[in-house]
Amino acid sequence: MLAFHPELGDSGCPLELTADADLLLEPVNEAMAETLQVALGRDSAFMAETGFCADILRPEIEATLPAGWQSRLRPLSDYDNVFALDPYDLAMVKLVLGRAKDLDLLRALMRSRALNAEQLQERYRQTPLGEREMFSAGRNLRLLLKEAGTE
């Protein structure tokens, strides 16, 4: 989200507390992922120096992303081969997970209009989900829309 809405990282905005980045590298193998996690992850020397850290994701994470997410990746300006997850795909992941911190983030993103309620509903309708995931995401989406007064 910060890649496309850097203002959300300003003081008082929804992502002001983000000090880590989830990175999925391609190609990657377990040895490389572990090496990078040790070098850049939480409590690393890199974090001690900078205050920031990274989580190196494993390819298995792709199973939790909405179908077709690769086709919706958005390139980061100034980088030749770096992409960010589409914000609505990220939102779908958060809707399925539905932890308090996930829903808090979605509320804040909707309030700040970084996420549009209609587009979020549309992505939910278009995203193939298992029965359990569909129930969880649908329940959480209805809750957020009701709170936002858009249901």
Binding site: G9, L15, E16, L17, T18, A19, D20, D22, E34, Q37, V38, G41, R42, D43, S44, A45, M47, A48, E49, T50, G51, F52, C53, D55, I56, L57, R58, I61, T64, L90, V93, K94, L97, R99, A100, K101, D102
Partner: protein, 100 residues
């Protein structure tokens, strides 16, 4: 399964002098562009209390080991990078399942 914060708590318990690393990190991060300076200032007070009283020290250890959402959220900004060695962190990293 122990988390990184559990290991930090265990190590601080064995060697409270390592608390100074937390304060040094906070100073460095606040002077930089850390996105959550108010969280760091909250941590600074917690670490200072831990340095100056046994009660504060036990509260810090309990906070690091607590699994409640509020403690885990604060734990995301724990300033103890450098307390654990790379080898100590690697044991947790190998067990860890990453999530968003």
């Amino acid at each position: 399964m122990k988390t990184l914060l559990d290991l930090v708590a265990d190590k601080l318990e064995r060697d409270p002098a390592l608390l100074r690393l937390g304060l040094e990190n906070i100073d460095r991060w606040v002077a930089g562009s850390h996105p959550a300076p108010h969280r760091l200032l909250e941590w600074r007070q917690i670490v200072l209390d831990a340095q100056t009283s046994p009660d504060g020290f036990h509260k810090l250890l309990a906070l690091l080991r607590d699994r409640s959402p509020a403690s885990e959220r604060l734990g995301e900004f724990a300033p103890f990078a450098g307390v654990l060695t790379a080898a100590e962190r690697r044991t947790v990293i190998r067990q860890c399942v990453y999530s968003h």
